[in-house]
């Protein structure tokens, strides 16, 4: 159980750094990043290409949460892949715990990405009414699918009574889910393209770039701390089950 103690230390350090990072990101996003009023390249977010009718004003501040959450979802996908492959190679329960923790945090990060994206899309692409911005274009849909895949991975844990079979299926499913994120990234290239291709397409002020970097670092640390916390909890829970069965 020595490595459990180490992971608790890692969790505490990550949590403290995440708290500082999140505070800094919040302050920068409200008091440092300027109001976006330039209509320069804004047609990339307009449903009608070439029509510059939309100013973002204060709405772009939501990107400082949306974008890092999307990165965290990608990171969780990668962790599911690593946990799945390593579990099938080593049969160690610690890799199973990593896959489960990553999918739990991926579910949270994916939900934040979808919700913040939808709120903004309702303003930018829709009429302001809830749900009016959801246009079923490939990137939105594939992100929703990825979120459902994380939910499915957690659902299978409750349905498999055999521990070894459950761990193996979790590992295999973690590997199957992983290629979905690159597809989310590539999905922008097919079909309708309302979604901005990159952050810099949309906003170019240097203060916004700095805020984006700090917010990304702070929120990735926060999601990292959440993964570490869930990892410790999942390993303790497995240990408890083993001792009860013994």
């Amino acid at each position: 159980m020595k490595d459990l103690g180490t992971s608790s230390m890692v969790t505490i350090i990550l949590a403290v750094l995440a708290l500082l990072g999140a505070e800094a990101a919040l302050w920068l996003s409200y008091f440092y990043a300027p109001v976006q009023i330039t209509a320069g390249a804004l047609f990339v977010v307009s449903p009608t290409p070439g029509v510059n009718t939309l100013n973002l004003y204060e709405s772009h501040r939501i990107f400082f949460i949306h974008l890092p959450s999307a990165y965290a979802t990608a990171l969780c996908c990668g962790l599911c892949l690593v946990g799945g492959v390593m579990h099938l190679l080593s049969r160690s329960e610690k890799w199973d715990a990593l896959t489960v923790s990553a999918s739990e945090v991926g579910l949270l990060a994916g939900a934040i990405t979808l919700l913040t994206g939808s709120f903004w899309a309702d303003y930018a692409w829709g009429t302001g009414r809830i749900g009016s911005g959801w246009n079923w274009e490939p990137r939105l849909t594939t992100m929703l699918i990825l979120w459902l895949a994380f939910a499915a991975l957690l659902a299978l844990r409750g349905a498999m009574p055999n521990v070894q079979a459950r761990m193996k299926l979790t590992a295999v499913y973690g590997i199957l889910v992983a290629p979905l994120y690159p597809l989310v990234q590539k999905a922008i290239e097919i079909g309708q393209v309302s979604h901005p291709r990159s952050f810099s397409d949309l906003l170019s002020a240097p203060e916004i770039g700095t805020t984006k970097q700090v917010a990304t670092l702070g929120l990735l640390l926060a999601f990292g701390a959440a993964v570490a916390l869930r990892y410790s909890a999942n390993r303790l829970s497995f240990q408890l089950q083993k001792e009860r069965a013994a």
């Binding site: 990825l146 499915a152 498999m160 199957l176 979905l180 079909g191």
Partner: protein
């Protein structure tokens, strides 16, 4: 007399022949998959008969048919895995002296044949029932083949593992659909582009997506099937 294990090709041929012969005798998979898909067409036909225009209806029908194919595939792979589990054949197969990946390949190939038969029946039934206009494009065959592989490859893999779980039918559906919705996106997009007369150029991004899934999922299945079932 030689005691060596049969070659991979002979083993695959024997396993595939067994799958096809069992189905020819019982016809249980084709009956359940075919009836399920036809019932879906009838229910959808009833539900959408009041759609405003023919144009909307014609764009809607291919997507509906792909949904029917998707669910027919789920029914097929699940029934096949459950039948083997109930008869104890699944464990017996794993004792055979060859690579478990060959069992996976034989299952995938037989499921591909069955789903293709169901698709032909579905298209024939949809011409009068849903006023389906079949796209006169040879590329549609490639779309159908790649979609079948993309859906069945993870389906066969996951069904073999979930057949022992509580509520395996629901669990397989929950696990499989998020993985294969990407294939569904490619199938619907490519069909839409080909039906609109855009040709290969219009369908290219979707065909590329189907090619990626059609190569990646069987490769993962071959790699993981043995690992999933080793003691």
């Amino acid at each position: 007399m030689s005691s060596s294990a049969p070659s991979a090709f002979v083993a695959f041929k024997t396993l595939l022949r067994r799958e096809l012969l069992v189905e020819l005798r019982t016809r249980s998979l084709l009956t359940s998959m075919g009836l399920f898909a036809l019932l879906e067409v009838v229910v959808v036909g009833l539900g959408v008969r009041a759609l405003p225009s023919d144009e909307t209806f014609h764009r809607f029908v291919p997507a509906v048919l792909w949904v029917c194919v998707l669910f027919a595939a789920v029914v097929g792979v699940n029934r096949s895995a459950l039948a083997d589990r109930e008869k104890g054949l699944h464990a017996a197969f794993l004792l055979l002296p060859f690579d478990p990946a060959l069992i996976y390949l034989a299952r995938l190939s037989s499921a591909f044949v069955f789903l293709s038969v169901v698709e032909v029946l579905l298209v024939l039934a949809s011409v009068p029932l849903l006023r389906l206009q079949i796209p006169q494009e040879p590329w549609m065959l490639a779309v159908a083949a790649l979609t079948n592989i993309g859906v069945l490859a993870p389906g066969v893999l996951l069904a073999s593992a979930t057949s022992s779980a509580r509520g395996s039918e629901a669990l397989l559906t929950i696990l499989l659909l998020p993985v294969v919705v990407v294939v569904f996106l490619g199938a619907v997009g490519a069909t839409d582009a080909l039906a609109a007369g855009l040709g290969l150029a219009g369908a290219k991004p979707y065909l590329l997506l189907l090619c990626i899934c059609g190569a990646m999922f069987p490769a993962l299945g071959l790699l993981l099937y043995g690992r999933l079932h080793e003691a």
